[in-house]
């Protein structure tokens, strides 16, 4: 078997943020549908949450540069 273990590692690492992002955006859309007047604040909080979750996905992209 040939190939790169790092690619499998990144694939596994992308599961978590994928689920997390799905839950985040789903809940935000649901909350916006229940209370449209809060859309602005919900949108701001959503962007902050997006930033934190995406870090874990992007760490998988950056680790080959840290451990060459």
């Amino acid at each position: 078997m040939t190939g790169n273990l790092a690619v499998i590692g990144y694939g596994l690492a992308a599961i978590g943020p994928g689920i997390g992002l799905g839950i985040l955006f789903g809940k935000t859309i649901e909350s916006m549908a229940r209370q449209p007047e809060m859309s602005g604040q919900l949108r701001s909080t959503m962007f902050i949450g997006l930033a934190f979750i995406e870090v874990f996905g992007l760490l998988g992209l950056v680790t080959p540069f840290i451990f060459p």
Binding site: Q41, F47, L50, A51, V55, L58, L61
Partner: protein, 227 residues
Amino acid sequence: MIVRFIAAAAVLLVIVLAARRAKLVPGRFQVVVELVLDFCRRQIAIETLGEKLGNKYAPIITTIFFSIFFFNITGVIPFLNVAGTSVIGLPLIFALWVFFLYVGAAVKKLGVGGFLKGALFPAGVPKGLYILLTPVEFLQVFLLRPATLTIRLFANMMAGHLLLALCFSATSFFFFSAANGMKILGVVTLAGGFAFFLLEIFVAALQAYVFAILTAVYLQMVLEPDH
């Protein structure tokens, strides 16, 4: 490196041109720049930090937003294909700037002891949990916040650049060097390249917005720990 000079010169040029003959009833260019400045002040600084602190920190947050946006957007401009923030140095400088900003602001307002107490021992937690919470908070405040700011900006820009390069080189390969049956795939990769180009513009603006709003959030978390 030259790209970063060009981006920095562009930021200065835009702001100086907008501010030079600022009229009371603004012309079109001034309206656009004022829109961005008002967005930063109202939607980022005042919404997160409140009226007084928001107005105090609005200039820094606006500078961060504007300059990161310009450094990101050079990644899609045709002859400057590299984003200034896609090498580790520039995001690191921005993250260190934000780190010293919030540590300095908190130490100036609360004193070193007050800052450490408010940040490492958050209120409203049962006494026993501090053994677990304080090391995590210490790592968070002093190590993880600057590190994640850096990695977020750097990796987003680098990934976007890689995707664009991949799509366009695949298009060139399919059109020029592939066997005759495969040439049609070049159209698919060209469409993909165009889509990723638009996505890159969106991601450039989004990452600038996220960096600015995280600056405001971190400032709010250290300056008003009981909020």
